[in-house]
Amino acid sequence: MTPRDLLRSAGRNTFRRPLRAFLTIVAIAIGAFTFTVTSGLGTGINTYIDSQTRAVGASRTVQVTGTSVMSFLNERMEVYRDDMDTARGMDVGSGILGEEDLQRITSALGPDDEYSANRQVSALYYSHDGGQRYRFVYNGYWPGKTANLVAGDQLRDDTDQAQLIVPSYATRPLGFASAQDAVGRTVEIGVLGQDGEVRTVPGTVVGVQEKSLIGGNLPFGNQVLDDALQDASWAGSAEDDAQWYSSVLVTGEDPDRISRDVAAQGYATATAEQTVGDYKSIVNGILLLLNLLAGVAIVAAMFGIVNTLMMSIQERTRQIGMFRALGMGRRRVFSSVALEAALLGVIGSVVAVALGVLAGRLLGPMALDLAGLDLPGLELFAFDATSLVAIVLGVTVAALVAALPPALRAARMDPMDALRENR
């Protein structure tokens, strides 16, 4: 029996009962499909995260904060120092840094390392033309950030105008007739100074952004606006007042050394790599869960294969016995049953991989659109050939493992099983 003969007879046996074969293939395909989608998500998101690190170009920068951003795991009491009252309005989620801290941090730096300390902005509200004030939640300045606009233009940095983009849902409450109407108009942002005074900073609305599921729901501004907000936040602080910073950015040739040395001083540090790594471990955790689900589906499918093949060889007892009578060896009987399983596995996984890739290609951009995630370079699903081949191979191996009990049973049949049958 040449391999081709084997394949042909395996094909014929597999589809003796088309519905049963189909259902088994569906079961296999569900598992393989989940693997494919999970793998596509993993590759897509991780590729994006990697490309972002590269694009940001911040690979040489280390962020230093008082405590870790993920410090909810080690929340603790912090001793209050009297001079901390000047740190009013600061987000202490990652702790605060004073001059003393700054000195200890810089003492750990090398001669060529550069650093900049960032102060907190304490914006309170915004309003238009003396109208109703709304809380202004400021998310910091994001260079180069673009928005999905329903009206107006993107922010510009080559200007001395303080510009901002507001979310579309905010235009009416603020007192504009429409999104279009808001463009070019001025809003006043109330900022709490160090002296307790609230000062207003004017900003020109240049664009209105679409509301969406994730992102796009907070106002944000250009660098000129950010500078103005910082100035207002620190207005009224006396020369000798303690200065407080939310973070220090250190740039140097060897970010790992900086990170290590500064961390040794008792501060939380994060290199771009570590930050990305954190994202990655969250992403990978979710992917692991999905893969686990896919694994459960495959195990279920394996039981399906065992069942299908057991029934199949039961029905074919006479045939197999006859093959044995005509001199077919036990090994060949075994491999023909195994081949049936492999066929089911290959068909199921190839179909599932194809559907998975298709679904990823079609639904990926659609999902991103729906979520309003207009992040250049982000493909929710990306597929690499190696993983797809690995999925097909892995699922086929699983099918072969499932074929073991029925194949052994078939191999143990002998000629008398055919001749006895019709007694």
Binding site: M1, T2, R4, D5, R12, R16, R318, Q319, M322, F323, R324, A325, L326, G327, M328, G329, R330, R332, D414, P415, M416, A418, L419, N422
Partner: protein, 235 residues
């Protein structure tokens, strides 16, 4: 050349156990030389099929042994037994045991396929045999579409395809009408006569039995004592 090709020595076969224990064969000895035609006759249930299965290495005896070309079958590996059935033996049964879903040609080619004969040669040889049995024009038809007589001829073609040296036939004409039965019987004797293929044939037909060179009668799992074949020297 005098040594027997096929030899049975004190064969015993027991079916079931305890209450249901049944001795189907109680020590049967016989032998056949190359080119012999041997008829096994006897009442239904006497043990003819059981004997044939043991001779054809389709089943294992509970006592005694079978030798083929002087070699004890029971000490052969399963693989060698498979090989022997595939290359040396051809089987024709009352129920034809064809692959209903396969074509006539595929059915005939099956033993050659098992023997790893290349596809082209397989086809040629199968067509040759089918031609001899007058079925060449049905080669590509589904086996299920044929009449009983035609099916039995396909089964015979399959038994012949791998050029066996012994053909075991268990009531090959039992399920056929007179005309078809005669055709099949003629073919069997033709093979025996022209090709020197040894024929071991179970039959209820006295006519068929008479055409065989030798006859043995089985009575309740034993050779009939007055059977002249039983007194033939086993050696």
């Amino acid at each position: 050349m005098n040594a027997p090709q096929l030899e049975a020595e004190d064969l015993e076969k027991v079916y079931g156990s305890g209450e249901n224990r049944f001795r189907a064969l109680k020590g049967v000895s016989l032998s056949a030389r190359t080119g012999d035609s041997l008829a096994i006759v006897g009442r239904s249930g006497s043990g003819k099929s059981t004997l044939l299965h043991l001779l054809g290495a389709l089943d294992r005896p509970d006592g005694g042994r079978v030798r083929y070309e002087g070699e004890p079958v029971d000490t052969m590996s399963t693989r060698d037994q498979d090989r022997m059935r595939n290359r040396e033996f051809g089987f024709v049964f009352q129920q034809f045991h064809l692959e209903e879903r396969a074509s006539v040609l595929e059915n005939v080619a099956l033993p050659m396929m098992i023997a790893k004969v290349p596809a082209k040669e397989r086809r040629e040889r199968a067509l040759e045999v089918l031609d001899r049995l007058g079925l060449a024009d049905r080669a590509d038809e589904n086996a299920a579409n044929l009449s009983g007589g035609q099916r039995q001829r396909v089964a015979m073609a399959r038994a012949l395809a791998n050029r066996p040296r012994v053909i075991f036939a268990d009531e090959p004409t039992g399920a056929l009408d007179v005309e078809n039965g005669a055709t099949v019987a003629d073919l069997l004797f033709e093979l025996n006569r022209d090709d020197g293929i040894t024929l071991v044939l179970i039959t209820h037909s006295t006519d068929l039995a008479r055409r065989c060179g030798r006859r043995v009668t089985i009575v309740d799992g034993e050779l009939a004592p007055d059977d002249p074949a039983a007194t033939e020297p086993v050696r």
